[in-house]
């Protein structure tokens, strides 16, 4: 299948997904379930990664700002901007693409090869909408929550480890974090997050939904879903940054 027919097939799939749910009560229940399965279950992992990467970012910035002419509060400022602009929205989204994407592709792929999707279709249910729409809505709503949590913990990690290692005092770090704060940067991070959430939810679902074969093909669909959604996140990260920050 060439790239153009693949893109066409993807958009036809998306059109099918974004049709009106047959039952809103079922949709709402599925949405809450997906928030828990995909979102809430990622909190611990996101917290762990954010805390330590925040610490590493602070240590690296401190290591690179050894010049006595540069004020120490720059460590806090650079940590804040690195985390808000890039680490939390992009890197955490890439990590979530692996965790959530493989879950989505393998779940839907397994349903396809065991004829569960055919069974839904036979009941007169729009299977694409029934299975995928709750996942998309859940990620679009919950990923910004995860990213907010990540920003907070990464900065907290930076402050804590910067302080105990003696590279940057609490006062200096907090001064830097508050210095020349641009609220639009947070808005930009959320726009990226929502966009990436759409990619994380739809692309692995697409590969899972059109799986043919057995266990091997489900694994391949999962890999393709994760790899391609990661590539798209990287590409759209550049495009969105170019559009919003220039």
């Amino acid at each position: 299948m060439n790239i153009f027919s693949l893109i066409g097939k993807y958009f036809i799939f998306i059109k099918q997904v974004f049709s009106r749910p047959t039952s809103f009560s079922v949709f709402y229940k599925s949405f809450l379930n997906e928030v828990f399965v995909l979102g809430v279950s990622s909190i611990g992992f996101v917290a762990f990664v954010s805390l330590f990467v925040g610490a590493v970012v602070t240590l690296q910035i401190a290591y690179n700002l050894e010049n006595p002419l540069l004020p120490s509060y720059l460590i806090g400022l650079a940590t804040r901007d690195s985390i808000i602009l890039e680490f939390s929205p992009t890197m955490i989204s890439l990590i979530l693409a692996g965790k959530m994407g493989s879950n989505i592709a393998s779940t839907i792929g397994t349903m396809r090869v065991t004829e569960q999707i055919d069974a839904l279709e036979m009941m007169g249910i729009n299977s694409a909408s029934y299975l995928v729409l709750p996942k998309i809505v859940a990620l679009v709503f919950f990923n910004p929550v995860l990213i907010t949590f990540s920003m907070f913990l990464a900065i907290l990690g930076g402050w804590f480890f910067g302080d105990i290692s003696g590279l940057c005092s609490t006062t200096e770090f907090l001064d830097g974090v508050q210095y020349f704060f641009i609220p639009f940067n947070v808005f930009y991070a959320y726009i990226k997050t929502v966009f990436f959430a759409l990619i994380i939810a739809t692309l692995p679902a697409f590969y899972g939904y059109f799986t043919k074969g057995g266990a091997l093909e489900v694994g391949q669909a999962s890999t393709q879903g994760v790899v391609n959604s990661s590539i798209l996140i990287i590409i759209f990260n550049y495009i969105i940054t170019q559009l919003l920050l220039n």
């Binding site: 065991t114 839904l120 279709e121 007169g124």
Partner: protein, 250 residues
């Protein structure tokens, strides 16, 4: 009644169904028989719109299913129950939730009425105390019975079964066959079953269609099948020692 006229289905250059025409009678157990790979499952899935046919027509009680939009086909499917070869039960849901899915989506029943209907259907397939079990907790035969219960939960007009007793021991296979026959007569459903099991043919087949390499080779009743002069059909039926001996005796 379901009527298919000259349906053709290809996968790439591979012709799987070649001008197949047949009528599936209301209130009867209609069987599609043939060897593995003969096109039985593709025939059933094409009739249900799960595969798009290349040409031909499919009528469900004079309603042209093949020319309907996807949405119209979805409405017809609400009148159809389907038992898949592997059961196709939703493995993340309990047995009760599996049967509830079509009721929640398409019925106006309240929760209590739904639960009564679920219990009625499970009792009808001789299953009790499995409401809270998951499909993985049940045996293959029990999963097939749950699949039948799910297929009849919305009181369908048409019931399709893709090799319902494959992978089951002879006794359980007979139980499933009997159950499908009883349900067909009891609710006057148009039942279409794919099988290559000759025991099923002799036990429940009211109207039988034999397919070989995507072509319909024979059509008739259970009584006619043993005395057919069709070479392909005879080769298929009498490939088993038991049926060869049965023919000699009869």
């Amino acid at each position: 009644m379901i009527e298919i006229n000259k349906i053709v289905k290809k996968f790439g250059s591979n012709l799987v169904l070649d001008n197949v025409s047949a009528k599936f009678l209301a209130g009867k157990v209609n069987l599609i028989i043939g060897r593995s790979g003969s096109g039985k499952t593709v025939a059933i899935k094409s009739m249900l719109g799960l595969h798009n046919i290349d040409s031909g027509t499919i009528f469900f009680d004079e309603r042209d299913f093949s020319s309907m939009s996807k949405k119209e086909q979805q409405n017809i499917r609400k009148e159809i129950g389907m038992v898949f070869q592997g059961g196709a039960l939703f493995d993340s849901k309990t047995i009760e939730e599996n049967l509830m899915v079509p009721l929640i989506m398409f019925s106006s029943m309240n929760k209590e009425e739904m639960r009564d209907r679920v219990n009625f259907c499970l009792n009808r397939v001789n299953l009790e105390n499995v409401n809270c079990s998951f499909p993985a907790d049940l045996s293959g035969g029990m999963q097939k019975r749950v699949a039948i219960a799910r297929a009849i939960v919305l009181k369908p007009k048409y019931l399709f079964c893709d090799e319902p007793n494959s992978g089951l021991d002879p006794y359980t296979a007979t139980v499933i066959d009997e159950l499908l026959k009883e349900i067909t007569y009891e609710y006057k459903i148009t039942t279409v079953i794919n099988t290559h099991d000759m025991n099923s043919v002799m036990q429940i087949g009211d109207h039988i269609i034999f397919i070989k390499e995507g072509q319909k080779k024979w059509e008739g009743s259970r009584d006619e099948i043993m005395n057919s002069k069709n070479k392909d059909l005879n080769k298929f039926i009498f490939s088993s020692e038991i049926f060869r001996r049965l023919k000699e005796v009869s």
